[in-house]
């Protein structure tokens, strides 16, 4: 970090130094320094508590990760199953019987098949 200084000779000005020392005098009261130390310690304590609140213990972190992995697997399986069911229903809709309503209505009552069909068509 040393680079050669080629400027004028540095001469201390005693008057200036005296004035600067008066302006920048540090507190001389020992109790002020003790209080500063307490404030620093309190600030660190507060920060440590805040950090700990956010920090999850490693053991819990592992349990949480395993649980999250398991949940992802279960959710994935359910999505796949639900998807299969939807596909299967769509397939049944396309290739299955045109309507199953008519025979059921006909079978459930004493109406003839013709009466039942009429009832389905008119919605009564």
């Amino acid at each position: 970090m040393t680079t050669e200084y080629r400027g004028p000779e540095l001469v201390r000005d005693d008057d200036l130094t005296r004035e600067l020392r008066a302006i920048y005098a540090a507190p001389s009261d020992a109790s002020w320094w003790a209080a500063l130390e307490q404030r620093i310690t309190a600030r660190i304590d507060a920060a440590v508590i805040a950090d700990e609140w956010w920090t999850v213990p490693e053991r819990w972190m592992r349990v949480g990760l395993i649980a999250a992995g398991f949940a992802v697997i279960v959710a994935g399986a359910m999505i796949v199953r639900s998807q299969q069911r939807v596909t299967s229903m769509a397939y049944q809709t396309v290739v299955g019987p045109a309507s199953t309503d008519v025979p059921e209505v006909a079978v459930s009552g004493t109406m003839t098949e013709q009466q039942a069909r009429l009832r389905v068509l008119t919605g009564r």
Binding site: M1, T3, E4, Y5, G7, L10, L16, I23, I40, I44
Partner: protein
């Protein structure tokens, strides 16, 4: 009491209840190692040892006493969090001073932005009463506030706190030659103010 704190106390023959302050590098190293293991008392001892010098570094950079105190608190908190990265064979003081200087420079930057947005004048510090009691000191104070933060820091660290150019370079992260030229320019500026005030009075 922790082992390093006990060691410091027994070697320095302090009475029970006396405040532990590291006086030798070996003591300091023991305290740093203990603090790195999480012993809070050891870190408190480091705070007690370095708070005055840390305040001096901060005060050299910021414009008032309150900001210096804030910078010291910020710096110790940062040092505590970064302690695991510190190599115990290095000088703890130099490492801490660098952190303090950065914290103080941050506060100076934030204050500049805030002052530009809100208030045109800095808040008067009760601690500056002696300086404000004389016209010369008031004018000198104003001149110090107009100096670039780095030049102000260099002249205060050198002329008031007795730092060497190399130490200033390490603390502020600048080459030693830059510290010397900053000192030269800061002194000429302030000498001019001093001269003009004297000719007026």
């Amino acid at each position: 009491m922790t082992a390093p704190a006990r060691a410091v106390r027994s070697r320095s023959l302090l009475p029970a209840g006396a405040r532990v302050v590291a006086e030798r590098p070996a003591d300091e190293r023991a305290l740093v190692l203990a603090a790195q293991r999480g012993e809070r008392e050891a870190f408190s001892a480091l705070v007690r040892t370095h708070e005055r010098r840390a305040y001096a570094v901060a005060r050299a950079i910021v414009v008032n006493h309150e900001d210096a105190e804030d910078a010291v608190q910020e710096a110790f908190l940062h040092a505590y969090r970064a302690l695991h990265r510190f190599l115990p064979d290095q000088a703890f003081g130099a490492w801490l001073h660098r952190i303090v200087a950065n914290a103080a420079l941050d506060i100076t930057r934030r204050r500049k932005v805030r002052d530009a947005d809100e208030l045109p004048e800095t808040v008067a510090s009760p601690f500056r009463d002696p300086a404000e009691s004389s016209e010369l000191r008031r004018r000198l104070q104003e001149a110090l506030e107009t100096l670039p933060a780095r030049q102000r820091a260099v002249i205060v660290l050198h002329d008031v706190e007795g730092f060497k150019h190399a130490e200033i370079g390490v603390t502020l992260g600048i080459p030693e030659g830059t510290a010397r030229s900053d000192l030269h320019y800061a002194r000429s500026q302030l000498r001019e103010v001093l001269g003009s005030v004297r000719s007026e009075l």
